[in-house]
């Protein structure tokens, strides 16, 4: 009989496949995917001159924004010559995975860990543990809890970014006296960077543009489709809305697409932060006039320079300026190393950038 062959006891096969699956999962997990890290602890070469191992951890591996930062970091490592760079991060942007990666690299004994925290509080304990082991810990791109890191490499002050976006929006929709409704599409409601920017945007709007009315702040959960949907809904719920801020590299293109498909390009402006490649088509068709960002490659470059200087003792607390090689002299404000100003992409210059 056919059914008699369907033996239900398959315990060993189950075990075997669960094991295979587990191996598969581990292989896809953080840390194990990086072969460069295997010799991370071999920190001296034959001549005895010390090789500095710097581990650069982004919020999420695979985002073009961070990939372009990493390209700059590679340049710095090549220019310095004594730096071995590891670029590794969670593929899903999970702060818990980020914390466990910091712990892994602490155990491997790297010299410097530079991290862009997804959630400062979640990764803080792991960062403190690394510091206790004598590893130099810096935050870059987004700040960490202050006592969990030595320095923060800051791309531009939160104030400069927030004011840049609001001023850009105001000039795009009709000048300083414009009376209009605007909305923000953010990343996660817990994203530290975005929340600080939002605070500065609110105060700047209240102080300088009292006729600008911020009607809603919606998260996109770093999901383009959700950014698209909330923008679509907000346009209908607030028919007089004149502008959207897409303040993450995922929410910006989603918001722009919604405005474009509603046939409101030029009538409703979208501005915000994103990498230039994903916004080129919208800048060309007029849905977006300006894209605000900073020089991502220089951010990665500066982070590696600071890491190396910390590990070799060239940079110690109390310094007020820092020689960043080809980037020139950079200002240090307390424990913030400042990269400089924001960069605005528009129809004239966006084609010069490719990332």
């Amino acid at each position: 009989m056919k059914s008699s062959r369907q033996n239900i006891s398959k315990g060993w096969i189950t075990t075997a496949f669960t094991a295979v699956l587990a191996v598969f999962l581990t292989a896809c997990g953080p840390g194990a995917s990086n072969n460069e890290s295997s010799n991370a602890s071999a920190s001296s070469d034959k001549n005895g001159s010390k090789k500095i191992t710097i581990c650069l951890i982004p919020k999420k591996k695979g985002l073009p924004y961070f990939t372009s930062c990493a390209a700059g970091a590679e340049l710095a490592a090549a220019d310095l010559g004594n730096v071995e760079l590891i670029y590794d991060g969670p593929t899903d942007g999970s702060p818990e995975k980020q914390a466990s990666m910091i712990e892994q690299y602490t155990l491997k004994g790297v010299d410097v860990i530079a991290v862009s925290p997804n959630d400062p509080d979640v990764v803080a304990p792991a960062m403190r543990k690394a510091r206790e082991k004598g590893i130099k810990v810096i935050s870059w791109d987004a700040d960490a809890v202050q006592d969990a890191r030595d320095y923060f490499v800051n791309q531009a002050t939160a104030q400069a970014i927030a004011h840049g976006m609001v001023d850009t929006m105001v000039s795009d929709i009709g000048g300083p006296d414009v009376k209009a409704e605007v909305a923000i599409v953010t990343a996660y409601l817990t994203a530290a960077n975005q929340n600080v920017w939002i605070q500065h945007m609110k105060t700047h709007i209240a102080d300088t543009y009292p006729n600008l009315n911020l009607v809603a702040i919606k998260p996109s959960d770093e999901d383009q489709k959700l950014a698209f949907k909330v923008t679509q809904d907000l346009m209908k719920a607030y028919p007089d809305i004149k502008g959207f801020f897409g303040i993450s590299s995922v929410s910006f293109p989603g918001a722009a697409e919604a405005v474009k498909q509603a046939g409101k390009s030029g009538e409703v402006m979208v501005t915000g932060l994103a990498t230039p490649n994903s916004m080129k088509s919208y800048v060309k068709d007029g849905t977006v006039k300006s894209v605000v960002l900073w020089n991502t490659s220089e951010l990665g470059y500066l982070t590696v320079m600071v890491g190396e200087a910390l590990a070799t003792g060239k940079l110690s607390s109390g310094a007020t300026s820092f020689d960043a090689g080809k980037l020139g002299e950079k200002k240090i404000d307390g424990d913030h190393v400042l990269l400089g100003d924001i960069l605005v992409f528009n129809q004239e210059n966006i084609d010069q950038y490719d990332f």
Partner: protein
């Protein structure tokens, strides 16, 4: 007291409640009408054609995948890998059609995308049915693994040059109705036929409601389970094709959290997590309700806090549906 008299003494309100909860489609339909009434009083713009169309377009991919997932649940299994599967299929589709990458003709990319969906579904189904690994473990593993493969396919950058031929699937319309809605309608009709008119459909219900009896009756349990997973994989491919090209950028985070939304819709729609029970009209109402909730909250203009509610409400609906199922089965027994 006999059973008959106890039914008579049940108060009419309670009987109505039991009826609505056990005929989930009817109950949800009433709830949707009520919600529509409230929101349209607060903001009449909700009922404008464009808004209804937008909600329907958002619901279409969820509806397409739900039709497949319902059968998985009915067969007594679960698939929580569909979110990552959509992410991977979007990456593959994008990489194939992108002018700077594969540069394949759209028609070929469509066929290949559907094919990859079926293959992943078959892999899920084979691990569950033939290797005997519990489906929650297989698909939980796939949820992580497929996202990892997506990153490899994307290679650290996004796809920003989708050709018009593919974009048409997401933005185009036929006789004034978007392609995704025609597709969802077709999938619903095929699913109705599958469930009500074929032996396969009836057998899927049989193996879910009483696996032991189905086994003794000699039903081909393993091929049937393989089929429901492959079918869900195929439908995830279909949903990817009609929804992802709506956006101009393919990033590596497409479909994140979709598995939870789809499971919510199917369970709220009255499909039993334990298998054997579920109907398409209930699932359809579940999809409409869950996709309109966040839009309703925006139209009610409740301010920033509404964002937090949206997710809490999604969770409450799952709990509510499960408690309702539990309560009804107890009422039936007593």
């Amino acid at each position: 007291m006999t059973d008959a008299t106890s039914t008579h003494t049940t108060p009419p309100l309670k009987r109505a409640l039991i009826y609505l909860l056990s005929h989930r489609a009817a109950g949800l339909f009433l709830f949707i009408v009520l919600l529509l009434g409230i929101v349209s009083v607060m903001n009449p713009a909700f009922l404008e054609t464009q808004n209804i169309k937008d909600i329907a377009v958002q619901a279409a991919p969820v509806c397409i995948i739900s039709c497949g997932l319902m059968l998985v649940l009915v067969s007594g299994e679960i698939d929580i890998s569909v979110g990552s599967m959509m992410g991977l299929l979007a990456a593959c589709m994008g990489a194939m059609v992108s002018e700077s990458r594969g540069h394949l003709p759209p028609g070929m990319a469509i066929v290949l995308t559907l094919g990859i969906g079926v293959v992943i579904g078959l892999l899920n189904g084979w691990l569950v049915a033939y290797a005997g690994v519990p489906s929650i473990i297989v698909t939980l593993g796939m949820l992580t693994a497929l996202r990892g493969v997506t990153e490899i396919v994307m290679g650290g950058s996004w796809i920003t040059d989708l050709p018009d031929g593919i974009r048409f699937l997401g933005t185009g319309a036929f006789m004034g109705i978007p392609i995704s809605l025609w597709t969802a309608l077709t999938v619903i009709l095929v699913s109705l036929w599958l469930v009500h008119r074929t032996a396969i459909g009836r057998r899927i219900y049989a193996i879910g409601s009483n696996p032991h009896a189905a086994y003794l009756a000699g039903l081909p349990i393993k091929p049937l389970k393989l089929f429901v997973f492959a079918w869900t994989g195929f439908l995830t491919g279909v949903a990817t094709l009609v929804s992802v090209p709506q956006l101009s950028v393919v990033d590596s985070g497409i479909g994140v959290g979709l598995e939870l939304l789809v499971v919510t819709c199917v369970v709220v729609g009255g499909t039993a997590v334990s298998g054997g029970l579920g109907n398409l009209s209930g699932v359809l109402c579940g999809v409409i309700l869950m996709t309109m909730i966040s839009t309703v909250l925006i139209f009610m203009k409740l301010g920033e806090n509404a964002t937090y509610w949206s997710r809490a409400i999604q969770g409450l609906f799952i709990l509510g549906a499960i408690i309702a199922d539990h309560w009804i089965s107890r009422q039936r027994k007593s």
